[in-house]
Symmetry: none
DNA sequence: TGTAATATGTTTATGGGGGAATACAATCAT
DNA sequence: ATGATTGTATTCCCCCATAAACATATTACA
């Protein structure tokens, strides 16, 4: 279970030191993908394999399915933490999440999210305003 | 499982260095063929045979089925990686995919796709699903 | 059989990614 | 408050993957 918020930096080569708290739980390989709201998702392998199964069954003869599968897999990457506790974020993912130097790494239940600090702050400022409103909507979802 | 996005170049003789990550999984012969959306598909043999099975079951009495099967097989070619880690893309396939020099190689689940960089970028600009659409798709799939 | 054209192989240079070491910051305990 | 310990940031170095130029082999055709 991932939780918490950490301010970190990405070096010139696109490497990020994974927060020590998260490292313990990512001792093996894991997946980084383009996520929603312009951040990156980090999934443990088993979580990913579930998604992979679902996508494999989509027909490549349908335009939308092709586009979706392409987007999802081309933006995905299996990686692991190096001996210094870092991960390498490839250029296309950095570009996608508008990551330059300062990032925020947050734990969100079963996954980790990596945000450009700027994006995170503007998202949080937007979302924070309607926090109570969002909570109201949770009732509809059975929470 | 193929994933990721790599920028590579094709030399004057039509040879392309296959990304190292993909090479490991294409250790023997494999199939390259004309794909959809003006890119090239690369299949490992077993995956190709699987598709072949499916195509074989299509009724050749139907015009569309005949056309599709012709298209798919006539553009296909068995090849392998040379000692320098390269593959040779024959002229007709290069022409088909509008490949000149700069290409993008992407992993798409069970296959690899080779795109002219220009084509890839315009495809992404046109066809890139909005986040809302992606989110919807994910919900449909139960992710 | 010789020559050109094409295919295949080799070599070298460059840059990106991984590792080691060090400096710096933060937390904790005494 | 001070020192110890852990975690984070930065710099430097080295190796491997890639790219490009060059060399050799094979084929086609006169």
């Amino acid at each position: 279970m991932f939780m918490g918020e950490y301010n970190h930096t990405v070096d010139k080569k696109g490497r990020l030191i994974m927060p020590a708290k998260f490292r313990e739980m990512l001792n093996d390989k894991f997946i980084i993908t383009k996520g929603l709201d312009h951040c990156l998702f980090v999934y443990p392998i088993d979580e990913w394999e579930f998604i992979e199964q679902k996508l494999r069954s989509l027909p490549f003869t349908q335009k939308d399915a092709r586009a979706f599968v392409r987007f999802f897999f081309s933006g995905a990457l299996e990686t692991e933490i190096d001996k210094q506790g870092r991960i390498l974020i490839p250029p296309n993912l950095r570009e996608f999440a508008k990551i330059n130097k300062e990032v925020v790494v947050i734990g969100v239940s079963t996954r980790i999210e990596i945000w450009s600090r700027e994006e995170w702050e503007s998202y949080r400022n937007d979302a924070e305003l309607s926090y109570e409103q969002i909570a109201e909507k949770m009732v509809e979802l059975g929470l």
